[in-house]
């Protein structure tokens, strides 16, 4: 099947997907570590559960935001090129 349509747009779209996907790898691992370590800590010291959950959500949000930096930069690259 011959290639039809705008190759430039196709390339930009593929790069948008790749940039977001690669940007999501690190934060994915990080979020997993945060939740896993919190579960571990609550298992060791269940009485600290309240404090640990607050810190867990803070760490979760700080880590998760890195996906959005990748997504934002990918959108910027998509829009200006």
């Amino acid at each position: 099947m011959a290639v039809q349509g705008d190759v430039n747009t196709a390339a930009k779209t593929i790069v948008l997907g790749l940039a977001t996907g690669f940007g999501a790898i690190g934060p994915g691992i990080g979020v997993g570590i945060i939740f896993g370590k919190t579960i571990e800590a609550v298992g060791r010291q269940p009485e600290l559960r309240g404090q640990l959950t607050g810190m867990m959500w803070l760490g979760f949000a700080l880590t998760e935001a890195i996906v959005f930096y990748a997504l934002g930069m990918a959108f910027v690259a998509y829009a200006i090129t």
Binding site: A61, A65, L71, G72
Partner: protein, 292 residues
Amino acid sequence: MLSLLATSDFNPVSEFTDFINHPYVDLPLGLDINKGVVYLWLSAATAILVPLLIIRRGLKAKPGRWQTFLEMVYDTAYTQIAKAGLPEEGMRIWFPYVGTCFIFIWAMNVIGFIPLPFSGESVQLLGVDVPKLQIYAASANLSVALTLTLVTFVATHVEGIRYNGVVGYFKSWIPAGLPPVRPLRGGSVGAAILFGLIAVVEVLSQFVRLVSLSFRLFFNMLAGHLVIAVFLGVGALMAASLGNAAFAVHIIGFPMGVALYLLEATLIAALQAYIFAALSAIYIGGAIHPEH
């Protein structure tokens, strides 16, 4: 954003920018009343009126369902958000601020997931003009997120200077334990270079906070709405190229979209409000008491 009756010329991104060019009321100086402004008013009214109505209905010693909910929100705002970040002397002024941030941003985010007829478009249904329902969050807009962040940013530095003095506050940015810099009394060159590097990093980190705090809220809501829109509208997006096979894509995409909608509306909406308020409290508290 997400039109109930999707058409094939559906573009998820343009739904977030088009409303700026189609205001309801055109005013000078860019003070147009458009969809984003209406959503902000709605959120502010909700954030003020819902707690007020619950309180005015009468607080009881044995709380009902709504009073329990409100007490839980207040307790979260007081112990989890304000107490965790602010020192004792900052509580009187800044607990109301971070509490307001929490409830206002939460109201914005939750209202962002209720389908409302503010799109300005309508569709002919049985001969009657029915306004299209759509979901749009005021916080999925960088202007809103950045304005809230700027309030925190200015408050941080004003409070830091007010409690520690200009010299004391900027001195507190330099971490303790550095070798002393004495440029006029034969101090080492290495210490001066180290001092300069750390000063640059510290000043940069203050501005990175500005970006990270606003981008986190803005992109979380934007990406949440985009993902829901793409999954619910994926059949319509692909109808042009797939034809009837697009229906099969819809069967997979639709439940996925509903699941993501529930996740975003319940967990992410509250979590982003919590994070914004908690980080504001930590930043302001860190400026009041730098050694913490």
